[in-house]
């Protein structure tokens, strides 16, 4: 067993050593010649010999994918060791596919970036794309096929599938929504082969309501695709489109492009958000209207009536005539054809239909929102189909159930009991999860391959077709969904490559692989005509939750729980609460006071490491559970929100037991609930306790109108005292001399663009091998993130406060206070203006961290990498995720952001080699955070070149330095935040 396990992944040097020549090379200690003192052998020969040995070893021992995959670089025939190779691919996520570029080092994928050519990515990424690399190397993933818990081979399964799945069998398939074209093709074959078969698309949080909404409005399931770049007024009705979703990167790119201000004459779009819980999108709103989740339909219907949507004549409810609603309606009416109303997927179908009506009456349809045909959408109400399937399975209506990628035993309480009644179940999932544990005797479990190790295809949210190409052989013998379905339909083991090739008969295959997508593809636009009758009927009958409501929402980080075993996502602080590793009961200050007698803001400014939060008992119908209470300013009153996806029992070592499983409380979007305060307390690890900026000029903010009058408002907020030489304050210390031939690196972060999503944090973690430290250490304040996103509230904490975000990396100060105090000179300045950290020299006095005014330095209090990498039975697997260009830091060493010095060095070497100048071309170096950012908020480059982008940005009138008055001369500056509020509400 163990030997087959170690063989399933490849490319540890141990394996290479099986090659005889390499073995001899190792045994010799010195290569041929080197120990003979023969003048004919130089150092170059040494390298040649070593290179040849490894190349031969690779041929003999490596298990590279046998099918052709093509890199983006121009020279696929050479693989230079130490030089990463980039491949274009695509990542399936929440039923769509987005283009990515994968960096591989020695055949191991180590980093995911956006694909600049792909229309759904444009180079940006979201947190789940960045974190997907860690899922690949998750040592807790299922290994090998099992039947009833017994290990089986792939051939066993193929034989079983061929014999069992005869055409007369009654087969049900439960599949997570999947845009795969091949899967869709196989689905048709499947339905042809099995006359008595059912296919149900099941997502715990899917877009089914949105599709049913367009069905209600237009008579058939269509997908609404907002084009935010064209919209001047954007209204989000409970639509958190900035948190990572199937289309979030494209939307954020468009949204931020529509509000990029570089001169006083530039304009900005305006965002209204109507929601209950404070979402990431809500924090970016100009105007955020707090409405209980179950009242958002009422708000929408009232808005539809206000704007004269067909079918809403004479309609009114409690929100009709509301001041904020009227202002919003007026603003929409003033931007006909240049506004858009979007609705969150989980809102009922009628809300989507009403929004379609609003977009229609405003003339937005076809301009700022397109309706497209969705070829892979299953016809009919899939919620009803799932309920029916459960009933049929219980009644013995099926011989077999095939579950592709879903985990219904966790996300649909009660499904586990149903599973036991099905004679044969085949379950495909990445982990041996709750559903696997609930399989009936003899049930098959097939490990699901990660998308980086399997062939696949699909379409983006807007319909751009891509092929998913594997970067590595499956580490744990995983199968893809198409392989399982192909085997069941075809009766013999199907390989992903053949299945995908069979689908992609036309087009330039090499070109598609190279670019990562097929150019010019998109879903067909549908011609629509809105009919309001059905919506009106639903609207008239709609009753919101009376009194206290509870809403169980998809976790912005763990989604429906499927990525609960990802340490990066668990440890990424929530955008608003900054909580890691737990879900909590979110409640507004007023409601917390009324329900629990809790005061907010608390008398304590910060929570001690041993502090614990009060715990509430929530009861919905028969179900009750305990959750710690967390007061969040800006939440709607009389409403409670909890995130699902936590409290997994079979996700792996990281996800098991973190948080509480809230699915049992879920019964629709919002339900009536009762709560009471218990005597229990529970520790919650939040990385930022303090809500207020204390009146300090840290994030400088103004309205667009103020900016037009006073463009230098940000720089003028602080006056630097004292005598100055050449405009700069004098320093006690010798000032660094920066040589003319060197580039000078600088960064600027545009706070107007930054949405606070935290993708920079995860991108940095992936790039720089930053360890995960766990809840206990985060609770002590020892999180290791090199770039963090600070969050501050402003305004009335009991009303509708606003939230601002500020990413804080190391500022690489020219007169760095950390450098002055290090007794051993372990942190020093480089000629190109970097504040360097020499790990080998660091003895760990922590004086530098103390003296850093931004507190961006991170200390290895324990041997975190060792704890993280080696406390699993197969450490080599996690180690494969490491970036070979960045050293893994030992215990007792300080670390911090260095503007991705490894990327800078690579570019400098390249520039020196090709142009003989140390200055790389503008844009040649991108830091990991900058590259990942979907809103292009981070600028980075050489400030010694007057025509570089960064130099231009730094001369912008909104540019300001944080804590400039300390005379530390940060190289990172900020562009002040602008909002574009509606004058009518002011």
């Amino acid at each position: 067993m163990s030997t087959t396990e170690t063989k399933t992944y490849w490319r540890s040097l141990n394996e290479l050593a099986k090659n005889e020549e390499y073995q001899r090379f190792v045994d010799r200690e010195f290569p041929e010649g080197a120990s003979e003192f023969n003048d004919g052998y130089s150092r170059r020969n040494f390298l040649q010999i070593m290179g040849a040995s490894i190349a031969l070893a690779g041929l003999a021992a490596c298990r590279k994918p046998v099918q052709k995959i093509l890199p983006l670089t121009r020279q696929p025939e050479y693989t230079v060791e130490g030089k990463p190779v980039l491949y274009a691919s695509a990542m399936p996520f929440l039923g769509s596919l987005t283009g990515i570029v994968v960096e591989t080092n020695s055949g191991r994928p180590t980093k995911i970036e956006g694909n600049e050519l792909h229309p759904g990515s444009l180079g940006g990424t979201h947190i789940h794309q960045q974190a997907a690399i860690l899922d690949l190397y998750d040592p807790d993933r299922a290994r090998g096929i099992t039947q009833g818990g017994e290990a089986r081979t792939a051939d066993d399964f193929a034989v079983f599938a061929g014999q069992y799945f005869t055409a007369d069998k009654r087969v049900a398939v439960l599949s997570a929504s999947d845009s795969s074209i091949t899967l869709n093709r196989l689905k048709a074959d499947f339905k042809r082969k099995f006359a008595r078969a059912t296919w149900v698309t099941y997502d715990a949080f899917g877009e089914e309501n949105a599709l049913l909404g367009t069905q209600m409005a237009f008579g058939r399931k269509l997908r609404a695709v907002p084009e935010l770049a064209e919209a001047r007024v954007i209204v989000s009705l409970d639509d958190d489109f900035m948190s990572s979703g199937a289309d979030s990167v494209r939307r954020v790119k468009a949204y931020s492009a529509g509000r990029r201000v570089m001169a006083t004459t530039d304009t900005m779009n305006r965002l209204y958000v109507v929601e209950s819980n404070y979402s990431l999108t809500g924090t970016n709103a100009e105007h955020r209207i707090r409405v209980k989740t179950s009242e958002i339909p009422l708000f929408t219907f009232a808005l539809a009536a206000e704007l004269g949507v067909a079918g809403f004549a004479g309609y009114s409810n409690s929100w009709s005539g509301h001041a904020e609603l009227k202002t919003l309606a007026a603003d929409l009416a003033a931007h006909r054809g240049a506004s858009v109303v979007t609705v969150g997927d989980e809102q009922p179908a009628a809300v989507h239909a009403a929004a379609a009506g609003i977009n229609a009456v405003l003339g937005n349809a076809g301009r700022t929102v397109r309706y497209v045909e969705l070829p892979h959408a299953e016809a009919g109400d899939q919620h009803a189909a799932f309920t029916q399937l459960k009933a049929d399975l219980s009644a013995g209506g099926y011989d077999a159930l095939v579950i592709l990628g879903a985990n219904p035993a966790h996300t649909a309480p009660g499904f586990a009991e149903v599973l036991g009644k099905v004679p044969t179940v085949v379950h495909l999932s990445t982990h041996e999860d709750e559903t696997t544990k609930a399989l009936p005797a003899g049930g098959w479990h097939v490990p699901m391959a990660h998308f980086l190790e399997s062939w696949g295809d699909g379409t983006s949210f807007t319909g751009v077709r891509s092929v998913v190409q594997p970067m590595i052989q499956p580490l744990f013998g995983g199968w893809s969904a198409i392989e399982v379905l192909g085997t069941i339909v075809g009766g013999a083991k199907a390989t992903g490559y053949d299945l995908v090739r069979a689908t992609w008969t036309g087009g330039d295959w090499r070109r598609i692989l190279h670019d990562g997508f097929l150019e010019g593809t998109a879903f067909a636009s549908a011609s629509t005509s809105f009919s309001g009758g059905a919506v009106r009927t639903t609207a008239d009958a709609y009753v919101p939750v009376a009194g206290l409501e509870l809403s169980v929402r998809r976790s912005p980080h763990l989604l429906d729980g499927s990525v609960a075993n990802n340490g990066w996502l668990q440890e990424l602080p929530d955008a608003i609460t900054k909580i890691t590793w737990d879900n909590v009961l979110l409640v507004s200050p007023t409601t917390a006071r009324a329900l629990f007698g809790l005061e907010y803001p608390r008398s304590q400014t910060v929570r001690p490491p041993d502090s614990e939060e009060p715990v509430a008992r929530i009861t919905v119908g028969e179900e009750s559970l305990n959750l710690p209470i967390w007061v969040v300013a800006g939440h709607a009153d009389d409403a409670l929100t909890v995130y699902a996806g936590y409290g997994r029992t079979h996700s792996g070592r990281i996800g098991n037991g973190t948080g509480v499983d809230t699915y049992p409380l879920r019964n629709g979007l919002a339900v009536s609930a009762t709560v009471r305060l218990t005597e229990h307390t529970y520790p919650v690890a939040s990385t930022q306790d303090h809500h207020s900026m204390e009146g300090r000029p840290l994030i400088r903010e103004a309205t667009l109108a103020t900016y037009a009058v006073n463009p230098r408002f940000a720089a003028d907020m602080v006056k630097v005292p004292g005598p100055k030489v050449d405009g700069a304050p004098i320093s006690l210390f010798n000032e660094q001399v920066f040589p003319a031939g060197e580039p000078q690196w600088g960064m600027t972060i545009d706070l107007t663009s930054c949405i606070g999503c935290g993708v920079c944090t995860i991108a940095c973690q992936a790039e720089n091998n930053i360890p995960v430290v766990g809840k206990k250490e985060v609770k002590r304040g020892r999180e290791m993130h090199w770039i963090r996103v600070d969050r501050y509230f402003s305004g009335d904490l009991n009303g509708s406060p606003q939230v601002v975000h500020q990413p804080i990396p190391c500022m690489n100060c020219e007169l760095a206070p950390c450098e002055q105090v290090c007794p051993v000179a372990a942190t020093t300045h480089s000629d190109d203006g970097l504040n360097q950290m020499t790990y080998n020299r660091c003895i760990g006095t922590r004086y530098c961290a103390n003296n850093c005014p931004f507190k961006v330095r991170r200390f290895n209090f324990f041997n975190y990498p060792k704890l993280w990498l080696e406390e699993v039975n197969t450490p080599e697997v996690v180690q494969m995720a490491m970036n070979p260009d960045v050293s893994v830091r030992f215990r007792g060493v300080m670390e911090k952001c260095t503007y991705c010095v490894q990327r800078i060095s690579r570019a400098k070497i390249e520039a020196k080699r090709t142009t003989d100048s140390k200055k790389p071309a503008d844009g040649a170096v991108k830091t990991a955070c900058q590259q990942a950012c979907p809103s292009d908020a981070i600028y980075f480059g050489d400030i010694s070149q007057s025509d570089s982008r960064i130099t231009q940005v730094k001369t912008n009138d909104r540019n300001y330095l944080l804590l400039e008055e300390l005379n530390i001369r940060p190289r990172t500056s900020y562009l002040a935040k602008l909002r574009n509020p509606n004058e009518a509400t002011a």
Partner: protein
Amino acid sequence: MSQSTTYVPEPALVKGNHTFGSITALIADISEKPAPTWWYIAFGAANLLLGLLLVLIGYLVYEGTGIWGITNPVGWGWAIINFVWWVGIGHAGTLISAILFLFRQGWRTAINRFAEAMTIFAVICALVFPGIHIGRIWVAYWMFPIPNSMQMWPNFNSPLLWDVFAVSTYFTVSLLFWFVGLVPDFATLRDRVKSKLAAKIYGVLALGWTGGNRQWQNYEKSYMILAGLATPLVLSVHTIVSFDFAVSIIPGWHTTIFPPYFVAGAIFSGFAMVMTLMLIARKLYGLKDIMTDDHVEKMNLIILVTGNMVGFAYIMEFFIAWYSGVTYEKAAFINRAMGPYAWAYWTMFLCNVISPQFFWSKKMRRNIKVSFILSIVVNIGMWFERFVITVTSLAQDFLPSSWGYYSPTWVDIGTYIGTFGLFFTFFLLFLRFMPMVAIAEIKMVMPQADPHHYDEKHG
């Protein structure tokens, strides 16, 4: 000639009409006679605590500094607090022996040996911390300017490096000063002890002292020179320790008042520690004739003066924070008094500023119980002063987003308690085997040393 002034005779520095011989016997007998039972009990307890310290240091080396409560943003916790506290205590000894010697304060002779020993041991306790608080203990030597193949020197801009020099110099000079003072007394013990081995050891330590005229002349000269060398060190060492904080840019640390304020605080705590130990020792060894109530009163006066200096600094810090107009500085001090660590701040204020005010009353100054209790209260207060400075400033600095709260772990507490084991192990050994009062020097200030009694009537 009419007598317009009346001569107020100085109270005798040694009471009880002792002879030179009885003084020698009184002190030397402690080392020569078997140790009392309490000594064994105390020594055993001290050894247990020392063992605790060593175990916890071993645990620290094995696991890393994460076992302490330190965190982001509070990178320095109890280790640095304890370091500054012990170094502060280590001030009294050299001050008493060097500065009071130069000022010809005869009363110092009763306590100088004692105080110097305390200094040495306190500095040893202090030196434990800079070595172990770093992340990679095994390369601590990189802080010293040792020539090496990497041509890598320490960073001479760093106050931590200055600390290394300041504290090690202070330790070396204090040790020398102490030893030179001990030479005549070692000779006394060498001549008195019965055990041959002991005589040999004391003989080696006495460096062949015979008490000749020439030897005394050289001795006094060298003692004077060392006193002169030690005097600036008394002021410099805590000045430089204060630079660890003052040179940084953190509000609450970045303060020019720190050097004098730290030195005053150090003398304050050092005298309090000498007082605590002296009151115990004179009770247990019956040395009330040498360490008289007059001594207690004089020391209490110094505690009162330095306590008020420290109190002045506390208040002046607030004034400057307000007067400077710096937002961050103001916030830091408001936070100290009213923020999450207000309990620590007011404990400090009560112990260091309010409690010494009792000593305005002569009755209180001469009350042994009050003196004993207050001497302990002062050292609790001085520990909290270092806690307040180190922790509150770091916990809440410029960006409210990174504000945190520090609390120690059991290892922090155990390590601190363990240093008392180290201190008392040394101190009890000192009491047992060395003359705890400078026999030779005390004789010089006895009434018997001055047959004329300096009485004017005798001309």
